[in-house]
Every structure is written in structure tokens, then in C-alpha cells.
Symmetry: C2
Subunit: 337 residues, 2 copies
Amino acid sequence: MARRGEFELIETLFAPLAEGFPGALGLKDDAALLDPPAGRSVVVTADALVAGVHFRPADPPDLIARKLVRVNLSDLAAMGAEPWAMVLTAAFPDSVDESWITRFAEGLGADGRSFGLPLIGGDTVATPGPATFSLTAFGLVEQGLALRRSGARPGDGLYVTGTLGDGALGMGVLTGRLALTPEESAAVAYLVERYHVPRPRLAVGRGLVGLAHACVDVSDGLLQDLAHLCRCSGVGAEVWAERLPVSPAAARLATTRALRGEGAWLETILSGGDDYELLFSAPPGMEKALARLAVAADTAITAVGTVVAGDSVVVMNREGMIVPFSRWGYQHFGPGE
Amino acid sequence: MARRGEFELIETLFAPLAEGFPGALGLKDDAALLDPPAGRSVVVTADALVAGVHFRPADPPDLIARKLVRVNLSDLAAMGAEPWAMVLTAAFPDSVDESWITRFAEGLGADGRSFGLPLIGGDTVATPGPATFSLTAFGLVEQGLALRRSGARPGDGLYVTGTLGDGALGMGVLTGRLALTPEESAAVAYLVERYHVPRPRLAVGRGLVGLAHACVDVSDGLLQDLAHLCRCSGVGAEVWAERLPVSPAAARLATTRALRGEGAWLETILSGGDDYELLFSAPPGMEKALARLAVAADTAITAVGTVVAGDSVVVMNREGMIVPFSRWGYQHFGPGE
């Protein structure tokens, strides 16, 4: 495929994304310079996406770039940080031509601008394998006030933003695992959009600084990420199955067909992954503050359980019985054989 | 291959590399926290290495990790920064087992410790393609004093550290492109070692802060990186072919056989890439200070040319004639077809 060299691509497609951040040095130097404002810590996170693993090679390149940005922003949100800058390394296979890379850069720039995340450095290389992207994102948070996974205490309420399971259902639609009727097309479009373009909960994360005891972003499934939060905090948790927030689209798919039987349905909600919502604990008495934050951030915040002493994470049904689970969430490596 | 899950691998193999850096949060949180000391800027660089492109899949995994660390450190050196921390994203294929990953982590930890570069975050994912690594490295430099590519002025001397061409020759040996005699085995071992384990010139870089006008690391070949420095500075340059520093091992290979004809020999020195030396410009009158720095840093510093007005980069032979070149350096993407 016709494609210009590395330096020309960087200069024409990526250097414009550095505008407005002097420390990026126009992507022309060996490295970039970061000078955080006084009183702020730099929050650093990195996520990689691989074609055929985290996205489908035929996905629109602008949506791949936007998902790459947003999964990293979700980690910044979980720390209570505001977006600051990003560094990209991209390994492009021969099979992608310059128009593909151009559309990828457009997606990166569109979300970079809308979230205030200029591109300040990186590396582009060739690969004989699948397209592989690694993004390091930087945020800013008040020193000493970053949200952590480790502060949850027994008696805290457990809350999640938005709705759960949409991304996993969207992927099920895209892979053909979910068979669909024409009447379900609106629901399908919504779920697929949630899969391609997650919504990092930055405004909620910022609002939780000084309010939440512990916070994590739900990327590998609610149960698995809750287990991480509990382990870091030295606590257990009860989750109320019937309180889990579900979108109308997901509810429609669930109730009409496809995911018959409560077990499979609950498993997708609790363990499907690709949610990019925030899960946090907050002390009792915060309900009004959280309701105000939900309005201000235009994002649902739902109480879904409670933090308890011990180290068990259990899911309760409406009768107060423990629901057993075999699948706890998405792992990037399966267990060995 | 038997391999544990992602979280166990991180906890046992990678979390120990975070020790001593509280902001790494033990690799257990959504992100890491960076708090640069007052008066310092954070220098950020990122480089990716792909199996089959930047290293051979059969290379020892500890050496792959060490090269990954060192190519990034070379960028920090070029800015005059001291190492501070690193973030790794790693895409491992199924074909690498846990012992491979263990040795990779050992190499990462060995160089991380010796250079003072704890691992503070990252991501490990699976890939159906080649092993692909992306490292983001952080350094610290006095605010406003980072070395840049853009400060060279006509009349400056041009200098390089160490020797040129060793890494490219070492790769030639590894790929079998260079046929060798038994007597050359010592030279070969040296060149292969230089290819696998570059020597980032951190002490020289630190010493150049406030002394050099412009600096770049030579990773894509002297001529190409010099062209970048000249373009950023708005100047031209003359390089003296007979002054280029060459190791005894490279000289032996060159004079005995293999690279017959001055053209090919010079091209490998000037455009082979994989040098990871520093190329810098300094004003006249700095010769004594540079000689002292070379001794203090235990690193050769050689005058190889001069900065001139204009925008041409030319190589002169000992008769003062311009040597023509067809190959200017390594590009990660070839020109399109």
C-alpha cells in the first residue's frame, strides 16, 4: 500500500495533535517536557490494544483510536484526575494504508481535543503482526487526594456510574454471538456504540475527590474489579443483583431473548468487561452529595451494595440468597494448559 | 505453554520492580502518581520494539528487555535528564512461556536497578502476533535547561560520544550478512554485545546541560539524526569522514574484509543506525570542558565536524571533497510502492 515514511507521517498526521502543549516540542525532539502546576500530582496510566484481541481489524480506525483514548481516560477518572496529555506508540502492519492511518489520527485528534488531551510524544513502527497500540495518558490531581483502590471501609456504600454490561453485549452483537430480530436494531446500535466508544466518567471522578473512600474503573467486569478494590482495602462486599443498573437496550435484549436464564444474563452484567464505569465506596450519609454529583455530571450513580468486614465478595438475589458464579471476569491471559 | 494469569504474573514478576517508588502504588491501582521535585521538569519518551523488526524472536529475553530500557534511556540522555521511572506495556504471544517472561522481567529489573528506573505501571496483554513492547521512560532535568535539538549555531563544533557503527555491524553478524573468519570472533562478540546492549550516555548528557547548544541521540544513523538536529536548528553541517570514531573491533572487520570499498564502510558508520550515542553541538572554546567531561563520564567524546550556515549536511573526505551518499539512514517505514 502506498504510504509515506515515518517522519512525514508524524509531521503531517500527528504533530498537529501536539498543538497547545509547549512541552510537546512539536513532536520534533527526543522527548517531551512535563511541568505539573504547583500542588498537583501527575497521574500516569497505560493501556495497550491489539487487533484481533481488543478490537476487530475491520473496525473503523477512528473508533479504534477513540477507544484507545477512552480506556486510558477511564483509568484517570478512577483516580479523580483531569486529563492532561498523552503519548502514543503505534505498530502499523503493511496491510494498513495511509488513509487508514489518517482516519486513526483523526479519531485520536477528535477525542484528544474534546477531552483536552494533546499528543506530546511517542513512536511509530512497522510490524509483521496485527496493529498494536499503546497509549500512556497523563492526568493531574490535587497532591495527596488521588482516589485509590485501598480506602474502602466496612459500612461504606458501593456505587457504580452509568450502566453495566452494554459493552460486553455490544461485542456479542458484533461477533454474531447474539442473534437478533429487526425490532432490536435500535438497541443493537446503542450497545455497539457503547462497545466502540466508552464514556470515561471524568466528571464523576473529579467530584469524588475528597468524598469517596475507594474507587476503581470497571474494565474487566464488576466482580473482578470489585475483588481488586476489596483486596487492596482489606474488606469484603455484598452486591445486590437486582440493583445493578442496566440500560433499556440491554434490558430489552435480555427480556426478549438471546440471554435466556438469569444466570447467563447476570454473568454478562457482572463479568462481561468493557464497561468503563466507575465503582466506588463512600461512607454513609453521602447520598445527597452523590445525588447532586450525578446531576452535575449528567451521569447515573446507583447504589449496588455495601462494604463488609472479611474478604468475601458475594452477590445476593432479591431474596437475600447468595448467587453462585463460575466466571469472575475477563483475564488477558487464560490459565495455562 | 503453561502460564499463569495476567494478575499473578504482574504480582510475582513485575510488582517487585516497583519497589522504592511509592507513587507506583505497588502496581495495584488504576494508575501511578508522579511528583517531580521542585525546580525539575519531567522528561517523557517512548519507544516500541517488535519481534522480527527490532529484535530477533530467538534473542535472549533478558537482552530484549535491557535493550528496550536502554533505547529509551538514550533519549533521556539526549535531553540531559537523569532516569526516574518507567511504564511498560507488553503484548506476549502464546508462543512465549512463563520462563521466557520471567527472564524478560529479570532483564528489565537488572537494568531498572542499575540505572535507577523503577517500573511504576503498565499493561500486559495477549497478542496473536509477534511479541511487542512499548516502554515510556521518565527522567528529571532542571527546569528550562533540557537539551534540545534546536539550539545549534553556525561555528559550533559537532561531537559524538563513543563509537559509531558497532550496533549495525553487530546486527550484520547476527543476521549472517557478514561472513567471518575464526580470528574475528573477539571482534564479533564485542559488536554483537553492542547491538544487544546499547550504552545510554547518561553521564555525558547530564554533563552537557548548560554546555551544549543542541543534542540528539543517534538511533537512526548519524547522518539522519544530524539532519534532524540541523532542521530543528535552522543550520547546516559538515562532517569529517576520517574523524568518525570507530571501535577497534569495527576497524578490524573493516580492514580485514567484509566491508570492502570505502563507500559501503562509510555508509554503515554513517547510516547503519542502532548506535545510541549522543551527537551534540557546542560553541568554540569548550574543548577543555568536553575533555574533562569525557574523563569524568569515562566515555570518548570526538569532534566530528562543524555547524555551518544554510541547510546542507555534507560529508567531507580527507581531501576536503564532498562524499556522495545514497542511503541516509534507517526509517521504520520504507517509502511506499
